[in-house]
């Protein structure tokens, strides 16, 4: 039965195996328990990986486009849950999380400007140069497209991005490197390797309550803003030790994120803030590498990476 379950999890079960699996489950209680056990672990791992959108109507674009009825249901679910938490919950952290998720999922193009709060603003590169985080900009679109622009010392810029299909990196006047590896070139985004996926902040929040203590309060400087503070309960768990999110009370829009406890091994910042600096729309092709270099620049397509 394990082979059949494995085929099922990979979406490749044959009709013959499907029938055999049903017969086994129909007649064998122990097999049903085993099936449930394996499916549950698969579900928890999928959930933990953030691959399950919870309250976001735009999470399934194909469904959204193809079936208005489904879209209506999904949108209604998001609104009902979001507003329910907002209106009636004396648990302000839960309400804040719901509101931020809803706003993040609805967000169009936006730009965050990075400031270094602690540590070295410059992070050394292997080739002797260094890359700067102070005043770097992170442009976001949807759940998979980004452009991160950082300074390069002794001169130029490091521009890293993804158009949702491939990731790419341009260092100074060097060649454009392109990879279809989903994680390639993402290390430059603060917190990305510490389980802080800016592109998929909804997933982060969906699992945040499991590992972090969440509190929310009004911002002392601006009553229109609220501050959601997340502090990790157990230092052995993955993720940054502390994160804070400043968001608009009326819309849930995250206007500032502060990340503390970035890893020190490779130098560079130990704490950064990302402040919403623009919500202007970018050109359609802005998140492709073509928009960031001259046409004659050499483009190098990397082979698939072997992970250690």
């Amino acid at each position: 039965m394990n082979d059949q379950i494995q085929a099922l999890l990979e979406g490749a079960i044959s009709e013959k195996d499907r029938e055999a699996l049903n017969e086994r489950l129909r007649t064998d209680a122990a097999a049903r328990a085993e099936f449930a056990r394996q499916m549950k672990l698969h579900a928890l791992l999928t959930w933990r990986a953030g691959a399950v959108p919870v309250t976001m109507p735009k999470a399934k674009p194909s469904v959204w486009r193809s079936t208005w009825q489904w879209a209506g249901w999904a949108a209604a679910a998001a609104l009902v849950i979001g507003f329910t938490l907002l209106l009636v919950s004396p648990n302000p952290a839960a309400a804040a999380v719901s509101q931020i998720i809803a706003a993040w999922e609805q967000a169009m193009d936006r730009t965050y400007t990075i400031s270094v709060l602690a540590g070295d603003p410059w992070q050394p590169l292997r080739d002797g140069r260094s890359v700067g985080y102070e005043s770097a900009t992170l442009h976001l679109r949807g759940r998979s497209e980004f452009v991160l622009i950082r300074s390069l010392n002794p001169g130029g810029q490091v521009i890293t991005g993804s158009d949702g299909t491939s990731n790419w990196d341009i260092r100074g006047k060097g060649p454009v490197r392109v990879s279809t590896d989903a994680y390639r070139f993402r290390g430059g985004i603060p917190g990305e390797y510490q389980n802080v996926p800016f592109l998929d902040l909804s997933s982060l929040f969906a699992t945040l309550s499991a590992n972090y203590d969440l509190t929310v309060c009004e911002d002392a400087a601006d009553p229109a803003l609220q501050r959601l503070m997340a502090k990790k309960r157990n230092r052995d768990q993955r993720g940054l030790p502390r994160m804070e999110f400043l968001f608009r009370q009326d819309s849930g829009t995250v206007v500032k994120m502060e990340l503390y406890g970035l890893p020190e091994e490779k130098g560079g910042p130990r704490a950064v803030s990302l402040t919403l600096s623009s919500e202007s729309a970018f050109p359609a092709n802005y998140f492709t590498h073509h928009a960031h270099h001259e046409p004659e620049r050499e483009v190098f397509f990397e082979p698939a990476q072997r992970h250690p």
Partner: protein, 175 residues
């Protein structure tokens, strides 16, 4: 609807939030891992909100929520063509009856520490399969290993994680 919303207690709001991963696991099991479990969870959440006034707060929340989730799965099944369904109706009925109640989001917390205790290579394999969403076939091809051997290893890792979670939750219960 607004009147119903106003009567929601903070405990119920927290219970809905905490039940999300367990409901997803329940739904995914009844759907045999087929695509669409997230949509069915959305629909279940909507039903939960709409039906909360019927919930008897003296009884455990999760079994009640799972009943609504089961109805949502059945509704999803009626929208699918028969040839696309993996499990037969009677098998789904049996599974729904027998699935044990979950432990809310405590399971996720236990999973986190169990993952941390895995050997690095196994942790990386789980990251490839789930965090990076790669298929077993793709991982096997990249690592140059037989697909069935890798699938068997993943099975053993998942089993070890399940045992670890069960042990941790049992320890929590006794503490």
């Amino acid at each position: 609807m607004p009147d119903q919303l106003q009567t929601l207690s903070p405990e119920l709001v927290q219970q809905i939030t905490a039940a999300q991963s367990s409901l997803y696991a329940f739904i995914l099991t009844l759907m045999a891992g087929q695509e669409g479990a997230a949509d069915v969870l959305q629909e279940t959440n909507l039903k939960l909100i709409r039906e909360l006034h019927r919930y008897d707060t003296s009884r455990p929340f999760l079994p009640w929520a799972m009943t609504l989730a089961k109805f949502a799965v059945m509704a999803w099944r009626t929208r699918q063509s028969r040839s696309k369904l993996v499990l037969d109706n009677d098998v789904v009925g049996l599974m729904a009856e027998e699935l044990p109640d979950s432990q809310d989001d405590r399971e996720l917390a236990a999973l986190e520490s169990c993952l941390a205790a895995l050997p690095a290579r196994q942790r990386e394999l789980i990251a490839d399969r789930y965090d990076r969403g790669q298929t077993v076939r793709a991982i096997a091809a990249r690592l140059g290993q037989p697909e069935n051997a890798l699938a068997a290893l993943l099975y053993r890792i998942r089993k070890a994680l399940h045992d670890c979670i069960t042990t941790k939750l049992a320890q929590e219960e006794m503490a």
